[in-house]
Assembly symmetry: C2
Homo-oligomer: 420 residues x 2
Amino acid sequence: MISSRWRIPVLPVLLFSVVARGADVSEYAVIRTDRSDGRYVSTRGVVQEMLRGEKPSLAFRPDFTHEAFVNWQDSVRRKLREVLAFPPDERRPSPKLLSREPRNGYSIEKWEFYPNRFAAVPFLMLVPDGVSPANPAPAVLCIPGTDRSKENLAGEPELHEAFARPHFEEKNHMALEYVRAGMIAVAVDNPGMAETSDLDRITGQRYQCSGDVNTFAHNLLNLGWSYMGYAAHQDNELLKWIRTLPFVNPRKIATSGHSLGAWIAGYLAVLNPDVAAAVMNQNIYDWREAARVRTKPDAKGCRPRIYGVFFFIPGLYRYFDHPDIQAAIAPRPALYCEGLPERDLTGIYQPAYSVAGAPENLTVVPFDKYREPESRFSGSVPEGLSDDEYWKANSNDGPQHYFKAAVAVPWLKQVLQGIH
Amino acid sequence: MISSRWRIPVLPVLLFSVVARGADVSEYAVIRTDRSDGRYVSTRGVVQEMLRGEKPSLAFRPDFTHEAFVNWQDSVRRKLREVLAFPPDERRPSPKLLSREPRNGYSIEKWEFYPNRFAAVPFLMLVPDGVSPANPAPAVLCIPGTDRSKENLAGEPELHEAFARPHFEEKNHMALEYVRAGMIAVAVDNPGMAETSDLDRITGQRYQCSGDVNTFAHNLLNLGWSYMGYAAHQDNELLKWIRTLPFVNPRKIATSGHSLGAWIAGYLAVLNPDVAAAVMNQNIYDWREAARVRTKPDAKGCRPRIYGVFFFIPGLYRYFDHPDIQAAIAPRPALYCEGLPERDLTGIYQPAYSVAGAPENLTVVPFDKYREPESRFSGSVPEGLSDDEYWKANSNDGPQHYFKAAVAVPWLKQVLQGIH
């Protein structure tokens, strides 16, 4: 049956072995169709065309007037809250102090708060000595990388050895570094990680082994929410409480995040116009672009895989992508301590800060490897890249991915000192 | 730091090894909190409480009057279309015939159709000899299990050996069996599978190896769609076309699905009131219930994992679950060839068919293993089950999961003959 154009010859050996012996799959790096009508039989090809399609409806436009920018910023704020699917506000118990202990130059408090009906979320607050309602201090909400703990941020012992991440452990003392610089630092776990994990402390296995975070992230999606939405909502509730503290200077509240936490730190700055500054210790990239260009098959013929299920944000690509979201922080001071893709910097971030009237408030510090401008890829990024090629095109140096305290802490201290 | 109630002792050996040596993790089978306020520190616990929470807003209610049932059915139809995120209707090219070949007693046609802007989706149509506009026949849309091909349904050679699934290959000739019984049978691949796969025919690897379906399913979510929504939309477009064929009796159109395809066959029957009958060769279960009760850790301390990413339907749990969706097929004839959970049968399906006025139109044929009523679990299912325990509570016999032609084909033939 079926005309020959549809019949693919069945080779007498598994084609896999041909590929493994070195057949060239590079011709498939860019997803193309050979049909004259441009359509795809491969569903992957169909989705690729969707990714190539029209820009998100709320993409930043370099030709914005100041008024158009301000209106756009407001739309991004509202739509971001919508795709993160924040539940309606409701009355909840006040956060509760669990313990307080002195440290050298500051005290560390353990609290818990109640961001939704069922959760009790522990967090740490590091308060510099001498801070009081009469002598308020700036405050910074610190959000860790994916599965690093709040204890790691605070430079405290882990609550369980299963939560320890020895690689760059000392580099990631974000909250400790801020409190030493005179800021109140609040540190929280990402949902399902460290103290908020399920059986990790029983099994000694990391969440990656148990698949537990993926499982509840999947359930959240079916419930109409998402991991990122849950995390951002929780952290946003914490931010609301920080704002009420009499010893916090409400004009000097910042967000700071490493890795996964950096995306959330940016969301919170967009959602809350009173956040004075934000530190993103992450080479922020465009998720839709990454999905579109990371398509080069490896030696086995497998294209790069998508990232973890906890990164899903249903509907996000329709409206904007991460450079757009970040640009909506303007004109407030923002620091990117691990660089940015050059094309996004010149095409989105710099025009946004210009039209917002504060180009001096955008600070981008590349990885050492990309310190020289000529080492950074500029121009638009082609399709058909491997993971490594894509990171290179973004001036992203994965092996050096840790909190850049030496850059972030003096920057944030100075920025907040400049606010009156 | 931190009061002792928060400090978990760090053992001198990895706790994993304790678990591996046989420590008892069964006490964690049911997710509980020991807090007096009922809240959870574990995010998994929080999500568990959400799953335990109020019923979906459009859950079937056994106390429905006939009028309330009809209104509810209409709401389910509209909301199902919404969560499957069908795009707006648009004009598209007509399906195109690619080839036609005679077989013994029928002809097989290869077509392609264009369910969205970028796709050309091949399908097969098996037409009994003698069918014509003057002598129209019933038609059945056949949807395969996850990664089985339309060629498998039609009993034709696979287009590539990478698409072959030898286990139960002969049992799954769904379309071939229907055409032999005098029905027009239309068979289509699930998105990204078999002929619609990406590099499987190049690499010889199944999609599970390449992760390709997961990758584009993830992209679809970020685009505001889903794999299941994409699949259901595609198949719904095909159904629209079948309806227009002059040699099809439009009062005798059915849907029939195996495994993954069975869920979709049910969706199509709900969405299209003119679908006369539906065959679900799958023990349909309640996804939210499955998420809630499958929590027993294995010997390594890992709870059962969630199913593949292509099963996500954002928001579904909020409105209804699968027994509710299926019940909205009533009063039209529906066949469940691999049984149903007894609690759903007596609590939802039977009351739905009763209130709809056609209890005789519900046919449930259990797996042989559960043929005797006393072998089937009744009552509500407790939390804390393993996968095996959950399937048993559903009267589901996984190893015997194949298309039950001997049940389905005579049933559908008789049902459609009875329609005038």
